[in-house]
């Protein structure tokens, strides 16, 4: 198990509401997205698979090229592929609208 932290200080637009999607099931993950108290975006990832920090960074960086909300995002991952992670994040954005 590994815990990864990423900050995105440029994402400052307000998030409309908090959102929970997904499940900590095999090959899946849960995403908890809520308005950030300090007006900047923060991501905390707890993953069951060690050593994939760079891939997580790439996936989350790419997500934040289009997502500009000051959200605190908690990800609890149980071995999801990068594609699955991207889909769950997109789903969270859809539900938050």
């Amino acid at each position: 198990m590994e815990i990864l932290n990423y900050d995105y200080p440029d994402a400052t637009a307000p998030l409309a509401k908090r959102v929970h999607v997904g499940v900590v099931g095999s090959g899946d993950l849960e995403v908890l997205m809520e308005p950030s108290p300090d007006g900047k975006a923060h991501v905390v990832i707890t993953t069951s698979v060690n050593g994939y920090g760079q891939i997580w960074k790439n996936v989350i960086d790419r997500f934040f090229t289009r997502f500009d909300r000051a959200a605190t995002i908690e990800i609890n991952d149980f071995g999801a592929t990068p594609g699955m992670v991207a889909l769950r994040l997109e789903q969270a954005v859809e539900v938050s609208k």
Binding site: M1, V23, V24, G25, S48, N76
Partner: protein, 290 residues
């Protein structure tokens, strides 16, 4: 046994039009049983009641520990549904997950003592105790048992086993303590799961990959046929919701199944334990015919 393959055309349409209950998440399952629009989650993921024990063993915890509690109404009466998310750790009962269910049942009992007729429903989708949490998991399962027994004289405690995990271990005892148990054909109810039996007693005792045999022994249809499940329904959210409403409408049963000790002792005494009955013989002896 009706099969959709041989069913008439209108049954096909009904089969395709149904909303599968098994495919729903725990929260959607719970909401589907409540009056439309009445459900609200209590102690949800943002309350972060997680397992403190899993991360210490290198296992990722889930924000709601795999149990979703939803309050709402059933036929305009106050209700609470506890749903187990089977995708997280096989629906296993850890300390927090079990305490959420036990707490919900104890609050329901407190409601009844104040004259509030809250209706409790438990959606069992669980392999039983979470082995990583050992005795703490067992202790909360015992609390769930005690709460069901305490609540049973006040209101029917309705259990639902839909599938596909089934209901095993200490939680199978909880299911059997319920006043009324609803199951689908896909459901399984048993103390030890097939893999455990194969591992402990050998493949000559039970081949865990033989689905037909397993469902013939512990499947929802067999459990219904031998009187251990009260309602057998299709995997259809509306049908399951209707069965739950009917269970509450029927009221508290005179004698719960688990209190009919003499009846079951007599049934067991009629069998020679060295000659285990096959599923058909058990149906003939205990139930509604083969």
């Amino acid at each position: 046994m009706s099969s959709p393959v041989n069913a008439p055309a209108q049954d096909w349409q009904k089969f395709l039009a149904r909303k599968s209950f098994i495919e729903l998440s725990a929260q959607d399952r719970a909401t589907a049983l409540l009056d439309a629009g009445s459900g609200r989650v209590i102690l949800g993921p943002f309350d972060r009641l997680k397992s403190p024990w899993l991360p210490q063993q290198g296992i990722v915890a889930q924000a709601d520990d795999g149990v979703v509690l939803v309050r709402g109404t059933i036929d305009r009466q106050p209700a609470v549904v506890a749903a187990i998310e089977s995708d997280f750790q096989g629906g296993s009962m850890g300390e927090v997950a079990g305490a959420k269910i036990a707490g919900a049942l104890e609050m329901t009992l407190a409601d009844h003592r104040k004259g509030i007729p809250t209706r409790p429903v438990i959606l069992f989708e669980t392999g039983g105790v979470r082995l990583q949490e050992a005795n703490l998991g067992l202790a909360v399962i015992a609390e769930i048992h005690a709460a069901i027994v305490a609540l049973r004289p006040h209101v029917p405690v309705v259990g639902v086993i839909a599938g596909m995990v089934g209901c095993f271990g200490g939680m199978s005892l909880a299911a059997s303590l319920c006043s009324h148990l609803v199951a689908t054909k896909q459901a399984r109810l048993g103390m030890n799961g097939p893999e455990v039996i194969e591992q402990e007693a050998g493949i000559q005792e039970l081949d865990a990959s033989d689905k037909r045999t397993i469902w013939s022994l512990i499947g929802g249809e067999q459990r219904f046929a031998i009187g251990q499940v009260d309602a057998l329904v299709e995997d259809d959210a509306d049908a399951i919701a209707a069965a739950v409403r009917a269970a509450f409408a029927a009221g508290v049963p005179a004698t719960p199944r688990s209190a009919r000790v003499d009846e079951y002792l007599a049934k067991l005494a009629a069998f020679d334990p060295t000659q285990a009955p096959d599923p058909k013989a058990l149906r003939a002896a205990w139930g509604k015919g083969a």
